[in-house]
């Protein structure tokens, strides 16, 4: 595979000339040697450098500093700064942060960026290379699933709200499955993402280290999972072995659908196609059912089923779902073609989350994410305006999730909360105790929790 091909696949901007392919083992050996030499060099020198622009101490990678000496003269391209994670190709450091973004052209900051970027001459005088000088709010990208109209609307709202605060963001379309986000993290494709939390939690590759690199900022509103099937299908288990439309591959819908079906132990055969196509196939009998998450933004679903041949399947709630899902209910008002009058269809809501990409604690990207988080939280009321998506009104910024939260987000929440009191602490302690039990909060916990709530509320009266 050529570098050009790899660039296209990974999304990384690789600043190096194409060279004849070299076996992977040889490339790894070069990378090992370069990294080892870098570690050795770093061990003999100070590992912290003072950034020229901010004056704040920034941890620098010993490998990134010493690799040029080990692999030949490498100079920082104009307008770029070193990427904090060294990436090697054929033994050479090749990835430079900021190269791909093209953000400087549109914001007219070429001059300042060039001024911030160290010149080759400067590099010759000092091995210390500046990290991104200042977390810049005026240029960020938010990744959203192009097949999820509601996520796209949320993303546009988010960008608009931060733009009102002086930021200059843009929405970029891309996959938000765990695999796609993994590529986005490593490929430096975006700063933030709106991603399905259930799929992230179910992903086997989401190691603790990877989770730290993709912390969540806020848990967004849950959206009902809808399963539309012919009326002779009354039970989710009847879909085992049959072909079910899951949504486009790598989409939020597909990952949420796969997670839910796996959780119930129903091995349906997923068909990956857009919702409108899947509904056509369902109507033609080529699919047994179609799964739609966030169907409120899908006109195709709103118009589907006028012939009354189809209906919504219920998804039974089970306590084991509590850490990820929340109960949800659909009525004829939501789906007049698919739900009979006076009928309630119970299902579950799959949560989305606002994720910071490649923002491990202490990294330069974490600083950028912190600035974005602060702007987001402080401008949140703009998102509650009537012209914004109604889902913002159900967002609890302090809501927790079984996923690491960006430290700056947690610090902002802690600072914004009013001072606690002993009765509120007792209520929260009771909740923690109930939640930490095997199986989570149980029926027998309900009265103790209720009494604790009453004591807290009574104490404030």
């Amino acid at each position: 595979m050529t570098i050009t091909e790899r660039r296209r696949r990974s999304g990384r901007r690789i600043v190096a000339a194409d060279q004849p392919p070299i076996p992977l083992t040889v490339r790894k050996a070069f990378a090992c040697l370069a990294a080892s030499a870098a570690i050795a060099a770093a061990a003999t020198t100070a590992s912290f450098a003072q950034t020229a622009a901010t004056g704040a101490p920034q941890p620098t990678s010993g490998a990134a500093q010493a690799a040029p000496a080990a692999s030949g003269a490498i100079q920082t391209p104009p307008g770029m700064v070193r990427y904090p994670h060294p990436i090697f190709d054929k033994g050479r450091l090749v990835l430079w942060h900021g190269a791909w973004r093209d953000r400087l052209k549109s914001t007219g900051q070429n001059q300042s960026a060039k001024a911030q970027a160290p010149s080759p001459k400067d590099q010759g005088q000092s091995a210390a290379v500046a990290a991104p000088a200042q977390p810049r709010l005026n240029a960020f990208t938010l990744l959203a699933d192009p097949n999820d109209a509601c996520a796209g609307r949320l993303a546009r709202d988010f960008v608009a709200a931060l733009q009102a605060g002086g930021a200059d963001g843009k929405v970029v379309a891309g996959g938000v499955s765990a695999a796609a986000l993994g590529a986005a993290v490593d490929g430096d494709r975006a700063d933030l993402a709106i991603a399905p939390l259930d799929a992230l939690l179910a992903d086997p590759q989401a190691s603790a280290k990877w989770r730290e690199r993709a912390p969540f900022i806020a848990k967004l509103s849950g959206e009902p999972i809808e399963i539309i099937a012919a009326r002779d299908v009354a039970d989710l288990r009847q879909l085992a072995g049959r072909e079910v439309g899951f949504g486009p591959a790598d989409s939020a819908d597909a990952t949420s659908a796969a997670t839910l079906f796996s959780a119930f132990g129903v091995a349906a055969r997923p068909a990956y196609e857009p919702l409108a196509d899947a509904l056509n196939d369902l109507a033609a009998g080529r699919l047994a059912a179609v799964v739609a998450v966030d169907g409120r933004c899908a006109p195709a679903l709103a118009q589907f089923g006028a012939d009354r041949r189809f209906h919504e399947l219920a998804v039974r709630w089970a306590p084991a779902m509590r850490s990820v899902y929340a109960p949800a209910r659909l009525t004829a008002k939501d789906r007049p073609n698919l739900i009979d009058e006076a009928e309630n269809i119970d299902t579950v809501a799959a949560p989305r989350a606002l994720i910071a990409l490649d923002a491990a604690p202490g990294s330069p990207r974490a600083q950028t994410a912190a600035a974005l988080t602060k702007s987001f939280f402080e401008s949140f009321d703009r998102l509650l305006a009537p012209d914004r998506d109604g889902a913002w009104r159900n967002v609890s910024l302090a809501a927790e999730a079984p996923w690491p939260r960006l430290r700056a987000a947690q610090e902002w929440i802690d600072a914004a909360r009013p001072a606690s009191d002993s009765s509120l602490d007792a209520f929260r302690a009771a909740a923690r105790s109930a939640a930490s039990a095997d199986g989570g909060p149980a029926a027998q916990d309900s009265d103790r929790l209720y009494d604790s709530l009453m004591q807290w509320r009574g104490a404030g009266q």
């Binding site: 509650l384 609890s396 302090a398 909740a431 149980a442 709530l453």
Partner: protein
């Protein structure tokens, strides 16, 4: 000759050291195995026999718990995958009071954790199942005064809905609901 041998041994040690350091540093060069997995860029219709990319152990545990929700019916007639009954009749609870109380417990935990939207969803299920205490807790989950004291950020209260739930709880005989209404805690 001994000097040559000594140099060779030293070189060997140096090589081992470099190799060890390389192994120690290698994860930062290849930081996430997730990236190696292919990404399908163009939507296409592909049928697969089983879902992929999921934590089987975690999902097995979840599936086991799901099946365990109805242990009396799960293993009797239709094999190990049964236990999920999805008709409107069957989603009603075999033990309504316990189920309602469990929803209430989950709702109160979510409320304490600041997840107000989830708390409302759980408590509404409990209230629908006839739990009067859930009605009062729902009133609190919509009460702007409660949310302010709780430090709920983002989501807003709804005084009108809170009053409605307090009223229903009061009609169900809860004295605390009457106190809430009498104290006129909710701003108009």
């Amino acid at each position: 000759m001994p000097m040559i041998l000594l140099k060779s041994v030293a070189g060997l040690f140096a090589g081992v050291a470099v190799g060890a350091l390389s192994l120690a540093y290698w994860p930062q060069i290849q930081p996430a195995a997730v990236a190696a997995r292919p990404t399908v860029e163009q939507p296409q219709r592909v049928a697969q026999s089983a879902p992929v990319g999921l934590d089987k152990a975690a999902l097995d545990k979840l599936a086991l718990a799901l099946r365990g929700a109805k242990p009396d019916a799960a293993e009797t007639a239709e094999g190990p995958t049964r236990g999920l009954t999805l008709t409107p009749t069957d989603v009603s609870f075999s033990g309504p009071s316990d189920e309602a109380r469990q929803f209430r417990a989950q709702g109160l935990v979510a409320l304490a954790y600041g997840d107000v939207a989830a708390a409302r969803a759980f408590l509404e299920r409990a209230a629908d199942a006839g739990d009067a205490r859930a009605l009062l807790a729902l009133g609190d989950a919509y009460d702007p005064a409660t949310l302010a004291r709780l430090g709920a950020l983002g989501v807003k209260g709804d005084a009108s809905r809170a009053r409605d739930y307090y009223q229903k709880a009061s009609e169900a005989g809860l004295a605390a609901a009457r106190q809430r209404l009498a104290a006129n805690e909710i701003s108009q």
